[in-house]
């Protein structure tokens, strides 16, 4: 060919077409050989099962996508998932079984701090890598081959409240007085204690501090105390529906807090509550730009929403839980692909020395307890949607924190 050009196509387009065809061939390539078995437990029944269903769906989606891409090391991937019934002691037994009886090749972490710590003990005993989804207390992660997928940094009790109070300080009406009300749930309580330290260091006045036991029935008296204290801002150390319960109780006495933050709320129900107007929370991922530009995010958000709707989930959007879960699988895949092996020690060493491209951005595991940066962002309910309002570089379309 004299010109070196395909008729009607320039060289760049030709190269792109060939590359696309080649990648398409690679995608279509079927994995072969004995499957690589990845074992984990999830709280498929019991009090944590509602959230664990998110992790189950994410795992199924990821393994499907992985096998469509050709599996791992050219072999298909099989996910062996057992029900730990929301019991950390059972999680420990099942992880023992996965390693010794099922002889899985790799481990994936369970959901919730208690079960993760149980699994970590087993992983340590057998020198297995453990990537986990949502460990709430980084200081408890002592094993050197555990890798957190929830990028909250090694000292979230200081960094997360600082991010929040930075956001509030930059708002049109920064608060001067703060009420801290909190659950005594382990991964919540230390964060609220951190918030108290941070607000004091920033010269804010704490007008109320209250704690309740996890499973508290009656939020009426707590609402009464908050109303009586007249704070500019309420830090609610709530998990799950506790935030909604407190808001319900506040409504009964005709009170709505001027500014309010919920640590780990059930995001769908809080969004649906008319009393949660302008409520703040923290997140590592929202299904909106710029987060959807991160590695694998756009495709995952689309698939997850469809599958979650089909599964009858009340909230079909990808946020912290689903994102951390997907990230965990991305980290494990990166370790195997990076080392081209299933050797746990090699994978562990690789992850400690390499950044991994994930849904949350590039993650590093070279900090204290293998934690990297705190990527928690501040989001707010605005016009019936969660929008990220801080820091500025990740806000949704330039959204700003709204104050009353």
């Amino acid at each position: 060919m004299k010109t070196g050009k395909l008729p009607g196509i320039d060289r760049r387009a030709a190269v792109a077409a060939i590359a696309f065809a080649a990648s398409g061939f690679a995608f279509a390539q079927q994995p072969s050989g004995p499957p690589i078995r990845i074992g984990s437990t999830l709280a498929l029944t019991g009090p944590l099962s509602a959230t664990a269903q998110i992790h189950k769906l994410v795992g199924e989606i990821y393994v499907e996508q992985l096998n469509k891409r050709g599996g791992l090391l050219g072999r298909p991937v099989e996910w062996v998932v057992k029900d730990d019934q929301s019991k950390p002691d059972l999680a420990r037994t099942l992880y023992e079984q996965l390693v010794t009886a099922d002889k899985v090749d790799l481990l994936m972490g369970p959901y919730a701090t208690g079960a993760i710590l149980s699994a970590m003990g087993v992983a340590q005993r057998y020198n297995k890598v453990l990537v986990h989804h949502t460990l709430g207390i980084p200081s408890l992660a002592k094993y050197d081959m555990q890798f957190p997928a929830w990028s909250i940094g090694s000292d979230p009790a200081t960094t997360v409240p600082n991010t929040l109070f930075d956001a509030l300080a930059a708002s049109p009406k920064p608060p001067k007085t703060v009420a801290v009300v909190t659950s005594k749930f382990p991964s919540i309580q230390f964060m609220s204690a951190g918030a108290r330290e941070v607000l004091k260091k920033r010269g804010l006045t704490e007008v109320l501090f209250l704690e309740w036991d996890f499973g508290n029935r009656d939020f009426g008296p707590i609402a009464n105390r908050v109303k009586d204290a007249k704070p500019d801002f309420v830090w609610v150390g709530a998990i799950g529906l506790e935030g909604n319960l407190l808001l319900d109780a506040m409504k009964k006495i005709d009170y709505s807090p001027p500014l309010h933050f919920y640590l780990y709320p059930a995001p769908g129900p809080l969004l649906a509550s008319p009393d949660a107007k302008n409520a703040l929370s923290a997140t590592i991922f929202e299904a909106q730009p710029p987060f959807t530009s991160n590695f694998g995010a756009a495709e995952f958000v689309k698939i997850y929403s469809e599958r979650a709707a089909k599964a009858g989930f009340t909230d079909t959007s990808v946020e912290t839980q689903a994102a951390a879960s997907y990230t965990a699988w991305q980290i494990l895949e990166a370790g195997v692909v990076g080392t081209q092996s299933l050797d746990d020690k090699a994978i562990g060493t690789y992850l400690k020395t390499h950044k991994v491209d994930t849904l949350q951005g590039k993650l590093r595991f070279d900090g204290t307890g293998n934690f990297g940066d705190d990527l928690m962002r501040i989001k707010q309910i605005q016009d019936g949607k969660w929008v990220v309002v801080w820091p500025k570089e990740v806000t949704s379309g330039g959204a700003k924190l709204l104050t009353p």
């Binding site: 509602a50 005594k184 209250l210 009426g220 008296p221 129900p269």
Partner: protein, 287 residues
């Protein structure tokens, strides 16, 4: 522990909250107290009945039925369920201690059934009552809690009146005191037992509907009520109709004041401390 001096409005609103939640303790304890005192059966499944009724109320309400009208369906159904369970217990001659174990097992089964139907996720009954409240002086009075209070007071007094002034009530008390003598006087213990067990379960179902009106539901939360309701029953006296209401209200107010002056996490200690103090100071006046 930090003590703070509450304002008058905080204290009065807290006491009102305490009365409301105490009324629910009393209503939940009413059937349990009758079962324990008059049938000599410690029925832990009472809590399972209450939660099952709460979920049924939630389900029927989401299908468009008024939550209070669901009582027309739920109460007869639970009467039959309670009577049926009692028939089984009598048939197999279950002792009081074994009734505790048996009904504990049933409670676990009921929790699993509820979880498999409605999942472990929280459920909140959205009804027209939930939004309603009015102001009385400086106090906010929520309508769902007021309904609970009215039901608890009226049912407790109704049961008290039946036990005290009717032949049926006298026969029940006589059978509980001395069954052979009562039988000699022509008291049909079997029929009375079935009726009483059915009534206890029906009372549990009313408490369940009140629970659904004011609280968010989760299957595992049924266990959170056991301790405090047991305390109300024991303080109120086994077999007493008004005792659980009075004791429940006392506990509710104590908890609310504790939460107003110290911390909410101290509140659960109150009911058990009260129970221990009264057991020590007034032995023989409770169970």
């Amino acid at each position: 522990m930090n003590f703070t001096l509450p304002s008058l409005s905080l204290l009065s609103q807290s006491i009102l909250s305490g009365i409301f939640v105490g009324a629910l303790y009393g209503l939940m304890g009413l059937g349990l107290s009758l079962s324990w005192g008059l049938l000599r059966l410690i029925n832990l499944a009472h809590f399972a009945f209450a939660f099952l009724a709460a979920y049924l109320c939630y389900q029927l309400s989401t299908m468009g039925m008024d939550p209070l009208l669901t009582l027309l369906v739920i109460v007869p159904a639970f009467f039959a369920l309670g009577a049926g369970l009692h028939w089984v217990m009598v048939r197999f001659q279950v002792s009081p201690f074994n009734s505790l174990l048996l009904t504990f097992g049933l409670t676990g089964i009921a929790e699993s059934v509820i979880q498999s139907i409605w999942t472990a996720d929280f459920r909140k009954l959205e009804s027209s009552y939930a939004e309603q409240k009015f102001k009385l002086g400086g106090l906010f009075v929520p309508v769902p809690e007021l309904i609970t209070l009215l039901l608890a007071v009226s049912l407790s007094f109704a049961v008290w009146a039946v036990l005290r002034y009717t032949d049926l009530g006298r026969a029940m008390r006589a059978a509980a005191q001395d069954a052979p003598v009562a039988a000699a006087f022509g008291v049909n213990q079997k029929a009375l037992g079935l009726a009483l067990a059915g009534t206890c379960a029906a009372l549990a179902s009313v408490a369940g509907v009140c629970l659904a009106l004011s609280f968010t539901l989760a299957p595992s939360q049924m266990y959170a009520w056991i301790g405090v309701v047991f305390a109300a029953v024991m303080l109120g006296g086994l077999g007493s109709a008004l005792g659980p209401l009075v004791a429940g209200t006392l506990i509710g107010i104590s908890e609310a004041i504790t939460m107003a002056v110290t911390a909410p996490s101290w509140a659960p200690i109150v009911s058990f401390t009260l129970l221990i103090v009264i057991l020590v100071l007034r032995p023989g006046k409770t169970a």
